[in-house]
């Protein structure tokens, strides 16, 4: 037995140079392909001359650098994580049994969400202490607000995509409807934020139902494309319906939210004076932070509760198999409509918040890319998982911001290097890489809401989704 294992080890060692040669060949091929892709797109940059004529600026160095980078990345990948490298580490292939883990009642979501909530509540205090002052922490609180907005949008879309399994590429339309509802109602009719908030949510939900009706009979990719078209139509209407929406210029000076009637200013009847505090513009920012936190928490609670109701179970059943659903007597029409409307409602609320926070809305904020980002958050988080959405939103939104602060990148790539320019480039790459690495998202186990005797969670790889 010992001899046998020795000989296999020796065999594995003997294969190492072979492995290196084949990996180099593969990497060389990848570099060659990269060269083909880069010529002429990277090698020659088109620039406008004074007279408007295009001239070509050669960039051989960049091309060579890209090809080398791909070569070494591929080589490293093949040697460290490639199929053969993994086979060398684990000589025998083992069959993995289907694991159904009996999870304790405290699953990742039930533990993770309260921790995340606690962290979020303490967050403004935390960054204030770290940065040594409320005003100094403004950047971090703003970042927190941004992340929480996307968490809320992610949770809202999660109802449609994650629970009901309806792929919606036009979710930003509801976000836009919420934002414009508040912007128009407050600037034209001077209605307060607290009245507008439910109205905006209701309007968005109504649009969700209106959109839902015609698209109900569509499935899968077709549904995705029609919702995309709907999102684009809303954006184009916002640009072109100038009398109401002020067109591409957008609506400016939208009234700010008040603290239940107390405005955030240094007047005698303002928030600061009422609570005998020294006036600071930061009060409003912190208030906005807790407002979006409350809205997001509301979304989470409502979703969790709905999942236990018949309608929530019907959503999940619909996601798994639409035909089985229909044969069991579930009304798929109302189920889909309710999912669309609920998702749209939270999108509208988030939109209202966006308008009141920015004080300015324009159609540019509601393009397809936003929809793609929100969808990416839901999918990367693991469809249907609430804590996954939080993690994904933090990574996707705060990650590129962090990139901006990394000083050493400037040292490598020169002073003119601006990482924010590459934000979307990296974003697109990350979407592809995430899909290949974990197509089911970060948190990908499925936990039933109803169970017999004990709760078992299974890997979602085993779940075959219907084509709903």
């Amino acid at each position: 037995m010992a001899v046998l294992s020795q000989s296999t080890a020796a065999g594995a060692e003997a294969r190492v140079p072979d492995r290196f040669v084949s990996a180099s060949k593969d990497a060389g091929f990848a570099a060659l392909v990269t060269l083909g892709l880069c010529v002429p797109l990277v090698t020659l940059r088109t620039d406008s001359e004074e007279g408007g004529e295009l001239i070509l600026v050669p960039r051989l160095g960049l091309t060579a650098a890209l090809c080398l980078a791909i070569f070494f990345a591929r080589l490293g990948y093949l040697l460290l994580w490639g199929k053969e490298a993994r086979a060398a580490r684990q000589p025998t292939s083992r069959k993995e049994a289907i694991k159904t883990v009996a999870t304790p009642r405290h699953s990742l979501t039930t533990i993770g969400l309260p921790i995340a909530l606690g962290f979020a509540i303490a967050y403004p205090l935390l960054v204030t202490v770290i940065n040594g002052g409320l005003s100094e922490a403004r950047y971090w609180i703003d970042l927190g607000i941004l992340v929480l907005t996307y968490v809320m949008l992610g949770w809202g879309l999660n109802i449609v995509v994650g629970l009901a399994g309806l792929l919606d590429l036009g979710y930003v339309a509801f976000y836009a409807i919420g934002a414009y509802s508040y912007a128009i109602l407050s600037t034209t009719f001077h209605i307060s934020f607290w009245v507008c908030l439910p109205i905006a949510g209701m309007l968005a939900a109504t649009w969700g139902v209106l959109l839902g009706f015609p698209v109900l009979r569509l499935r899968g990719d077709y549904l995705a494309i029609v919702t995309l078209a709907f999102g684009e139509i809303i954006r184009l209407v916002l640009i072109n319906w100038v009398p109401v929406t002020n067109g591409g210029a957008g609506i400016a000076s939208i009234p700010r939210a008040s603290f239940f009637g107390l405005p955030f200013n240094d007047d005698d009847d303002g928030f600061a004076a009422f609570f005998h505090l020294e006036f600071s513009p930061m009060h409003r920012i912190v208030f906005l932070f807790y407002l979006i936190l409350a809205l997001a928490t509301l979304t989470s609670i409502v979703t969790t509760r709905l999942r236990r109701l018949p309608v929530g179970r019907a959503w999940e059943a619909l996601r798994e198999d639409e035909i089985a659903c229909r044969s069991l007597g579930i009304n798929t029409t109302t189920t889909k409509l309710s999912a669309f409307a609920t998702g749209a409602l939270f999108g509208g609320l988030a939109g209202s918040f966006f308008a009141v926070r920015q004080g300015f809305v324009s159609p540019e904020s509601f393009n397809f890319l936003e929809s793609a980002i929100i969808l990416a958050i839901v999918v990367l988080g693991g469809m249907g998982s609430q804590i996954g959405v939080v993690i994904a939103a933090a990574v996707m939104i705060a990650g590129p911001e962090m990139l901006r602060n990394l000083g050493f990148l400037k040292a490598i790539f020169g002073e003119n290097f601006d990482p924010s320019e590459y934000r979307l480039l990296i974003f697109g790459l990350a979407m592809v890489v995430m899909m290949i690495w974990r197509p089911r998202g970060l948190v990908s186990t499925r936990e039933p809401t109803v169970f017999l005797k004990e709760r078992k969670s299974i890997s979602s790889d085993l779940v075959k989704e219907g084509h709903g």
């Binding site: 004529e53 070509l56 029609v226 078209a229 709907f230």
Partner: protein
């Protein structure tokens, strides 16, 4: 009447470009049932490749003949864009074969975002104008002081589309490759059992789609004379609309759908409002999918349990 005929000519030209892009969508959807969301951006990339090669040929290498330069641009553009199409399929879609339903679509959205931003970073965000390549027009007739003209470039676009449609239709219907493609479209596992190299066939489908996108990109550049990094998305969605309208999986349907979309868009701009032309195109997409999901020339989709 004269205005109408002129708009008809313009609409046909635009429709031919949409049709060329739509063939790429329809072939890929037909064979692996996925919306290749990055196809529109591949079209934009090909327009950039055409632009660079054209400038290189005319102003650096000094080729005087526009026709020769365009021919070289077309061939080089098709080759390089095919390589892009092949590489994208290899890197972003092939590992996801057999993964769950939404994974390839999301990966494709990622590729789409990557491509447009890659071009923005690498070539700059500004519009890239080219000098007009073909200026001559054929004056068809004049009526009430309005001249109806068919530009040579419009004629070229229509002829190239017709030739390529015929060539690709021949490939799909009459060659072993086309037979393998149709077999994979029907049942991949069965095709593999019968000795069809499924991976290779799918790769070649992407290559063919990319080559046609390259032709469309070159034509777009010749026709409009300007291209920017964000020019892929809207033509992409419209071409997908065309593919759906014509019946997904059908090559003549894709071109027919493209022409219908092109005509509607042009006539809508001419007679109603130019601002809402995209709304019109998107609405047609929604209406077609809802009331005529199998399209004009497609086969109805049978629901299987």
């Amino acid at each position: 009447m004269a205005v109408f005929i002129q708009q008809l000519i313009n609409g046909l030209t635009l429709g031919a470009i949409y049709g060329l892009i739509a063939i790429g969508y329809t072939m890929v959807f037909g064979i692996i049932g996925m919306v290749n969301f990055a196809h529109g951006d591949l079209f934009m990339v090909s327009a950039f490749i055409a632009l660079i090669v054209f400038v290189l040929l005319t102003s650096v290498l000094g080729i005087g003949s526009i026709a020769l330069a365009l021919l070289i641009v077309l061939v080089v553009g098709m080759l390089l864009t095919s390589l892009w199409g092949w590489a994208i399929e290899r890197v972003a879609y092939r590992p996801l074969r057999g993964a769950f339903r939404l994974a390839p679509l999301i990966s494709a959205i990622g590729v789409s975002i990557f491509l447009s931003n890659f071009v923005q970073v690498i070539q700059g965000a500004r519009n890239k104008p080219t000098p007009p390549m073909i200026r001559d027009v054929i004056v068809l007739f004049e009526s009430q002081g309005y001249t109806v003209a068919l530009a040579y470039k419009q004629l070229m676009i229509m002829v190239v589309t017709a030739i390529l449609l015929a060539a690709f239709w021949y490939v799909v219907q009459k060659t072993p490759l086309g037979r393998a493609q149709r077999a994979c479209a029907q049942d991949q596992r069965m095709a593999a059992l019968l000795g069809v190299d499924v991976d290779r066939t799918i790769s070649l489908t992407f290559v063919m789609g990319a080559a046609l996108a390259a032709v469309a990109g070159t034509m777009y550049l010749v026709y409009y004379g300007v291209v920017s990094f964000s020019d892929g998305f809207v033509p992409g969605v419209k071409a997908f609309t065309a593919a759906v309208l014509g019946g997904i999986g059908s090559l003549p349907g894709a071109v027919l759908g493209g022409i219908v979309i092109g005509l509607i868009e042009t006539l809508w701009s001419a007679y109603f409002s130019i601002e809402y032309k995209d709304v019109a195109a998107f609405s047609i997409l929604a209406i077609t999918l809802i009331f005529l999901p199998q399209g004009l020339l497609g086969k109805p989709d049978v629901e299987k349990v």
